[in-house]
């Protein structure tokens, strides 16, 4: 009904605009408006309107920013990135914003002001001014210099961020799939066991090769837990389609690609609790999102990331049991041989590691009902 009223209203406005437009065209012809030309009064009207739009527009841009500033991450003067490299990205953002902001205001102001000032009217004659080499050199060189500064600083920061991870960085392996994440930590040997996508099955969602002894102490927790101020290297992968590992508060994004390992390292600087206090929101959590379109539930791959102080982190780590311990009983024959099909999924494993999407292997709607889907679906 509302839609109908809306459509009727729009049609009515159309009819009115059309009638007025037709009338004004006829009036113009009667008044002797030259075809292809615009009258002085028309130019005045639109000159003033353009000027008005420019001024209100520029005000709206800054007012709008000021109104939403509290909600922003970048562009928020109070924003504290949760990672070390986030600070460099943030300062790069501010530098770029100041430069672009100045260029934006000057060029928009001139554009609309000239449109107003040089509107055709009595006493205003156009001047043949075809070019001016000095002027053109000036406005080629200035942007070139400014951009060189931005490029240099940008690339320098980029190399810092993408440099090799420190040797003491902890490794966290994250594997994406439709529509979930699987996490694996190396155990006490700091090494991850081998994986092979052909070994993936309902029970072995990552295709871990249990013959590789390095896999026996690997942990597979249901959340990503990090230690504050300790560098962490995320080793990323995907099982089915492209995904992207996106931690907005840490300013990390990296695609997860089937068949091609990718990685990203960082140092978290604020624990979850610190960030909750800082943001004045005790409900706050760091969220992992998927940033590369991966199918129908792409928007629904939320995963919690926790950053703990060192003692808390160690306590958490001590609680974790190697995944292998939980499932080795089900491996038949024992680990030395090839992994086995048909073993029942153990309830001991976590739901996150054996996801419905993979078990089901279907894209039908029933998958979604098993997930923590929002009500609106």
């Amino acid at each position: 009904m509302n839609t109908l009223i809306g459509i009727v209203a729009i049609v009515l406005i159309f009819v009115i605009v059309f009638q007025l437009a037709k009338t004004s065209e006829l009036m113009g012809i009667l008044k002797g408006d030259k075809e292809g030309d615009t009258s002085e009064s028309t130019n005045n009207t639109h000159g003033f309107l353009m000027m008005f739009l420019m001024i209100t527009g520029l005000i709206a841009v800054f007012l709008g920013w000021w109104l939403v500033e509290d909600k922003l991450l970048q562009g928020n003067r109070n924003f504290t990135p949760a990672s070390k490299h986030g600070d460099s990205i943030n300062s790069m953002f501010w530098i770029t914003s100041i430069i672009c902001g100045i260029a934006f205001v000057i060029t928009q102001a001139l554009l609309f002001w000239f449109s107003y000032k040089y509107r055709a009217r009595k006493g205003n004659k156009a001047q043949h001014f075809s070019h001016d080499n000095k002027l053109e050199i000036v406005w080629t060189v200035i942007p070139a210099i400014v951009l060189t500064v931005l490029v240099a600083r940008g690339i320098e920061t980029w190399y810092e961020i993408t440099a090799d991870a420190p040797a003491d960085a902890r490794i966290v392996e994250v594997t994406a799939q439709q529509f979930n994440w699987t996490v694996r930590y190396p155990g006490s040997d700091s090494l991850l066991g081998k994986r092979e996508f052909e070994l993936i099955s309902g029970e072995n969602s990552l295709g871990i090769d249990w013959n590789d002894a390095k896999s026996h102490d690997d942990l597979m927790p249901t959340e990503i837990v990090l230690e504050k101020n300790k560098p962490v290297l995320f080793k990323l992968g995907a099982k089915d389609v492209l995904h992207s590992f996106y931690l907005t508060h840490f300013m990390i994004k990296m695609d997860c690609v089937p068949g091609i390992p990718t990685q990203f390292w960082m140092t978290p600087t604020h624990s979850t609790q610190e960030m909750r206090d800082l943001r004045g929101n005790q409900e706050f959590d760091y969220e992992l999102a998927c940033a590369e379109l991966c199918g129908r539930a792409h928007y629904n791959m939320r995963f919690i990331v926790k950053v703990l102080e060192t003692e808390q982190y160690n306590a958490w780590l001590a609680e974790q049991k190697p995944f292998y311990d939980a499932i080795k009983a089900t491996l038949n024959p024992a680990p030395a041989a090839a992994p086995v099909e048909g073993a029942a999924p153990t309830e001991a494993t976590d739901s996150a590691t054996v996801t419905p999407a993979v078990e089901n292997g279907s894209v039908g709607t029933e998958v979604e009902s098993k997930k923590n889907v929002i009500s609106s679906l």
Binding site: F14, N43, Y118, R119, Q127, S130, I200, V241, T248, E283
Partner: protein
């Protein structure tokens, strides 16, 4: 010349100097009369083909625009039910709610339709066809028959895409970029079934259309300029169409290759783009392929594509601005060379779409350099447009307003490109709404504004009537305010980290803060869509009922299209094609308002566009040099 052998072209046939009825009052030499089908359907007249591209482009623009309204409704009111959606989309929107699967299909189709069918075919196809022969002084394209085929390949491509909207598994839904493995695996998504096959076929046909058209544009510009029409006497429109066609010819075939290889992966089990995949409960055989290879191939077209879209708009805007400011375009040669610079650079920036794809960081840094470099020619163009207005005598008609609006949007969207082209900032902003805001403003809206400027400006030449300018003004102001209202706030969403291509934001606390803003954006989108329907109405109404053109050159423009009859027939000029004696921007010179290109140079006069500044008392003038 080729057209002399073509019976469809009879010079002077059907040309009218006074704009009276088409079918009477002509001396008949007994030659072949064109029937309706030859004249309006399978026409080989570049002007008719240009209009055909425009009509089909407009139809697609309405479809693509409507799709965006549909998915904006979902984003603004995720819990609401809209019976109108079910009416339009049937089981894809059961109970008036869009399914997630179809949401992505709509997003994909919106992108594909707008980028390829509207802003490539509808913009470059329309104006390259219509204006190149008229402005360089040719009777038609180099190969009118191929030109006709180009349009009909576009029709065929359109039919395939349209058909894909009605199949059971729905159209392609993996984004307009169609990244594999998602697009290659029917198990991974409904839209990767038959819909994806049809998408690839449609795109392949479309590329054939672009190639046929592009070959014609390039050949015509190189070979068929009239006497005296040196390269540096061509209007900037022609320069822009020329470079656009070259970019298209060099880059579209790469996408053709990518599409064929992807289809091989889908149908024949090859592994160009696939490796190590476990999906739907089984490990696939594919081995050794690289999904990133597809991204390279896709963006090798995909990035030049944005210049294919924006360059014609730049050319149109340069011409419209110059005519209605009564001034030469400032820095004509700089404009030409900046188009050339953009053309070259457009081929070496593609990987800036892939900073976060796992690309080697060193390779990424090279692409940062080239990407930000492209801001230099872009900045030159902006400054030159602004200076063109300076000390002009500006007619603020709808065409001119849209041209000014174009520059405003190009500035806004261009500056955000400086953020995104910087890989450091792209880490955070990549695939967020910041990107959506950026490319919609700089390429979507700006190109649309260029198209509107061109339509309002050349409508009298196309149809012998004027569009209603009051409706044009309403169209302009609502569109300008509305389109900024839609896309400006999206920057703020992006700066808050909100990712694009999300069906529902409520899953994440961080992304779920903008319910009101999303409603605001959707309402603005509906209003802008409505006012553009008004534009379409104005367009068709004016074809039949607009104010009639009674003079040959209503704007006082210098270029050749205004020397043709009001209703030019196939062949454009009655009698000989006029020769050209000067550059196209002699406005407000020698005490005259304008001097047409066809007027011979006076005694002692030089065609002086490449000489020093002629601004009185300009200290920076370097007379006699350039």
């Amino acid at each position: 010349m080729a057209e002399l052998h073509n019976p469809a072209i009879e010079v002077g046939h059907d040309t009218h100097v006074h704009g009276h009825d088409h079918h009477h009052g002509h001396d008949d030499h007994g030659h072949h009369e064109l029937n309706f089908i030859e004249k309006y359907i399978f026409s080989q007249d570049h002007k008719v083909i240009g209009k055909q591209f425009l009509f089909l482009g407009m139809a697609w623009a309405i479809v693509g625009g409507l799709f965006s309204i549909f998915f904006r409704l979902q984003l603004a009111w995720p819990d609401e039910s809209f019976p109108i959606l079910e009416w339009f989309l049937g089981s894809w929107a059961e109970g008036g709610k869009l399914s997630a699967e179809f949401y992505y299909a709509l997003v994909t189709m919106h992108g594909t339709i707008l980028v390829f069918f509207v802003l490539t075919a509808g913009l470059s196809g329309t104006f390259s066809n219509f204006l190149i022969p008229l402005q360089v002084g040719a009777r038609d394209m180099a190969s009118p028959f191929m030109n006709m085929l180009s349009f009909w390949m576009f029709v065929l491509s359109s039919c395939v895409m349209l058909f894909s909207l009605f199949i059971q598994t729905g159209p392609a839904s993996g984004g307009w970029t169609a990244y594999p493995p998602l697009s290659a695996l029917p198990q991974a998504s409904l839209g990767s079934g038959l819909g994806m096959d049809l998408w690839l076929i449609s795109i392949a046909l479309f590329i054939v259309s672009v190639a046929l058209g592009g070959l014609n544009y390039v050949t015509t510009v190189i070979n068929m300029r009239t006497k005296g029409m040196d390269f540096f006497r061509m209007p900037l429109t022609v320069w822009a169409f020329f470079f656009t066609a070259i970019i298209g010819l060099l880059s579209f075939p790469v996408l053709f290759g990518a599409a064929i290889l992807l289809e091989f992966d889908r149908l024949l089990g090859t592994s160009f783009f696939l490796s190590d995949i476990y999906v739907a409960g089984e490990a696939l055989q594919h081995s050794g392929g690289s999904p990133i290879l597809f991204q390279h191939l896709f963006w090798f077209l995909g990035h030049p594509e944005v210049y294919i879209i924006i360059l014609p708009a730049m050319g149109i805007v340069s011409e419209v601005m110059s005519v209605h400011s009564r001034k030469p375009i400032f820095g004509y040669k700089a404009m030409v060379f900046s188009i050339l610079g953009i053309t070259i650079l457009s081929f070496i920036v593609w990987a800036h779409h892939m900073f976060m794809s796992g690309l080697n960081p060193f390779v990424a840094s090279i692409f940062v350099l080239f990407t930000l470099l492209i801001a230099v020619p872009s900045a030159i163009k902006v400054f030159n447009w602004i200076t063109t207005l300076w000390r002009g005598s500006i007619r603020l008609n709808p065409a001119m307003l849209f041209a000014i609006g174009f520059v405003s949007l190009f500035i806004s969207g261009g500056l955000t490109g400086i953020y995104l082209g910087n890989s450091t900032l792209d880490i955070q902003l990549h695939d967020t709404y910041y990107v959506v805001a950026h490319f919609h403003i700089v390429m979507g809206l700006a190109a649309f504004y260029g198209m509107f400027a061109g339509i309002y400006h050349w409508f009298p030449k196309m149809f012998g009537r004027y569009m209603n300018s009051s409706m044009g003004y309403v169209h302009f102001y609502v569109t300008l305010v509305g389109s900024y209202a839609i896309f400006w706030p999206m920057h703020y969403l992006g700066m808050s980290g909100v990712p694009r291509r999300y069906y529902d934001f409520s899953v994440f606390d961080q992304f779920n803060q903008y319910a009101d803003l999303n409603k605001f954006i959707t309402i603005a989108a509906i209003i802008v869509f409505a006012v553009n329907i008004l534009f379409v109405f104005n367009f068709f109404y004016s074809i039949f009922n607009g104010r009639k053109v009674t003079v040959l050159n209503p704007y006082g423009a210098t270029t050749l299209e205004w020397t043709t009859p009001i209703h030019p027939g196939h062949g454009n000029w009655v009698g000989e094609i006029p020769a050209v004696h000067r550059w196209p921007y002699d406005y407000s010179i020698n005490g005259r308002d304008f001097i047409p290109q066809t007027e011979a140079l006076g005694a002692g006069e030089v065609d002086d566009h490449d000489h020093g500044s002629d601004l009185p008392n300009a200290g920076s003038a370097i007379p006699g040099k350039h």
